[in-house]
């Protein structure tokens, strides 16, 4: 552990000054730390590696080699079978359809609210902000039973759009927090200039605030899509029939569906997680900036 702070002081990327204290001892400890980190990362990544090696090998090869071995005979058949057995055509369609409606709508209403709270003279502003942010901490259980009744009264039980209202409500607090913080930091001069030109609040929102806030909107959009994509408890309560299942509901039954097919189970899990992993790899810049937004200041 004694090498810990030296790492910060000596090789911080922002430190462009010549490194006076680079000694042989420092080089050795740096190499050891890198090695330690690589081993830790391999352990962290190992479940994914095992899923891939098991998913792409023949059952025969798996039985001779065991779960932790390098595959010798390859096949794509497990993925083809798992696609049908796991009913992915249905669950993917439902989840994508719901996310396509929910996420843009949620970001829009949250942006409208965040804009008014951050930039307009809203009555009860502090109270509304407090009430909405409180939603960040409220577990979904507490609303489950009455929500079931509300959705039932709307005739939307066992319908993916029955999830729309609850998902919107539970997404709003985080979206408002991130967007509100961002809108507060926009320079006041822009708003004064727009007011001098006689622009109304709506025009300011659509023509100035939204275009200036694309990074924050992208962050909120992506994190909300991840949340919608992954939600289980509400879907479990509202959805009952197979043809309306979302992706997490579909994956809940995997161990039952693939009891005798260990390779097929690996393939099915991979099909279930691949899109979100690809999206994460491509968009992680926005995810990281959104999650760390509150941590860096003050």
């Amino acid at each position: 552990m004694s090498t810990v702070t030296e790492q910060i002081t000596v090789s911080n990327p922002r430190d462009r000054r010549p490194q006076r204290r680079r000694s042989r001892h420092g080089a050795v400890s740096r190499a050891l730390i890198s090695l330690l980190l690589i081993v830790a990362a391999l352990v962290w990544f190992l479940p994914f590696i095992l899923l891939i090696t098991t998913g792409i090998r023949t059952t025969q090869d798996f039985q001779t080699g065991g779960p932790v071995s390098i595959p010798a005979e390859f096949t794509f058949q497990h993925f083809i079978d798992a696609w049908t057995t796991g009913d992915f055509a249905t669950t993917y369609t439902n989840t994508i359809l719901l996310a396509l409606v929910k996420v843009p709508l949620g970001v829009l209403v949250s942006a409208l609210m965040a804009y008014a709270l951050a930039r307009l003279k809203v009555r009860f502003r502090a109270a509304v902000l407090f009430l909405v942010l409180l939603g960040l901490t409220i577990p979904i259980y507490i609303a489950l039973v009455p929500l079931f009744n509300t959705v039932k009264a709307m005739g939307l039980i066992d319908n993916i759009f029955g999830l729309l209202g609850p998902y919107l409500a539970f997404g709003i607090p985080f979206e408002v927090l991130v967007l509100y913080t961002f809108f507060r930091q926009l320079p006041d001069e822009i708003f004064e200039a727009a007011r001098m030109d006689g622009a109304g609040s709506w025009r300011v929102f659509f023509q100035i605030v939204l275009p200036l806030s694309l990074p924050a909107l992208a962050t909120v959009f992506i994190l909300d899509a991840v949340g919608t994509w992954n939600e289980l408890l509400m879907a479990l309560t509202i959805i009952s029939s197979d043809e309306n299942k979302t992706l997490p509901l579909g994956m809940l039954n995997f161990s039952g569906q693939f009891t005798t097919n260990y390779n097929g189970l690996a393939a099915a899990i991979l099909i279930g997680i691949l899109p979100i992993l690809i999206a994460y790899a491509l968009l992680q810049r926005y995810i990281v900036s959104g999650l760390t937004a509150g941590a860096v200041k003050g």
């Binding site: 910060i8 609850p166 995997f254």
Partner: protein, 305 residues
């Protein structure tokens, strides 16, 4: 005459114009959804928790605090409460310790940092159901990789049905939770480390402070607000535990891995003890709010500065 008729028309238009600019119009769409689908159901739940409602019959009898009193006589609820405690302590402290160590170590190696950061945070974006499926698959008693790795290390005696026996089930789920939760504190600490001025280390070294002293006297105080945020969000998150337990053990074997969230779900949707299950939900929510309200107030205060 013509001016007389157009004046009211103009004022009417202006009034309409002003109304369309009313700030509450911007607040209203999100606020009404929030009230209808979150605030109102949450308050209704408090009402339901004072009744013996079974979820089906049209009428429910007011039973006062009976449901709450019953929680303390229900051995499974007490076990669930204990499991929630274990869950919170372990899935908060271990990821924070690991995440802090990783952040401090990664912060030094600029070349490895982006790739390793991606890997350590990766499990956190997966649906928890998928995490449950992955670890259930790894823990498979006969063909799972966990037991296979133990056997190949000569520790075959330790191979066991991790999720299928009382003694190991909760710990096995917690391992999966640590895998998921370590990435978040790491990201926060990595971001916060960027904010510590390097000059502080420089002058500490001049004063003869060793690296261990630098860590405790510069790095740790510099991360104070990051600690607060990580701790608050981890605590709030830990009260929401449901998906992983539900997907991996469904509270079993027996009821050994029940937490309050899964026990609430069983009572409401399997036993139709809706009043009782809702009382359990109210208890979790009060606990979450006890930590959540200070967090929200701190967020609002830090924003004002």
């Amino acid at each position: 005459m013509s001016t007389a008729s157009s004046v009211p028309a103009r004022t009417a238009r202006r009034r309409l114009d002003e109304m369309s600019q009313h700030p509450w119009l911007f607040v209203l769409p999100a606020f009404s959804v929030y009230v209808i689908f979150l605030v109102s159901p949450a308050l209704q739940s408090v009402g339901i928790s004072f009744t013996d409602w079974n979820g089906v019959s049209p009428d429910a009898v007011f039973v006062g605090l009976d449901n709450y009193a019953h929680i303390f006589q229900d051995p499974v609820a007490m076990l669930a409460l204990r499991n929630n405690g274990i869950w919170s302590v372990v899935t908060i402290s271990v990821p924070i310790a690991l995440g802090l160590s990783l952040a401090v170590l990664l912060n030094g190696s600029s070349r490895l940092m982006p790739l390793l950061r991606t890997i350590f945070y990766m499990p956190a974006v997966l649906p928890l159901v998928a995490v449950g499926a992955i670890w259930g698959w790894l823990y498979d008693p006969s063909r799972g990789s966990v037991n296979e790795i133990l056997r190949s290390l000569g520790l075959g005696a330790l191979a066991q049905p991790w999720l299928g026996q009382d003694s190991t089930a909760l710990a096995a789920v917690i391992v999966a939770a640590v895998w998921v939760h370590t990435g978040f504190p790491m990201l926060i600490y990595l971001a916060a480390l960027q904010g510590i001025p390097l000059e502080l280390y420089e002058s500490a070294r001049v004063d003869g402070a060793n690296r261990w002293q630098q860590f405790w006297h510069i790095t740790m105080p510099g991360l104070r607000s990051a600690h607060a945020i990580v701790l608050a969000l981890s605590i709030i998150d830990s009260f929401k535990v449901f998906d992983l337990i539900f997907a991996m053990t469904n509270g079993g074997p027996g009821n050994t891995t029940q937490v309050l969230g899964t026990w609430m779900f069983v009572n409401v949707f399997q036993y139709f003890n809706v009043g009782y299950g809702t009382a359990v939900a109210v208890i979790i929510t009060i606990a979450a709010l006890a930590f959540g309200i200070p967090y929200v107030l701190a967020q609002l205060r830090s924003e004002k500065r």
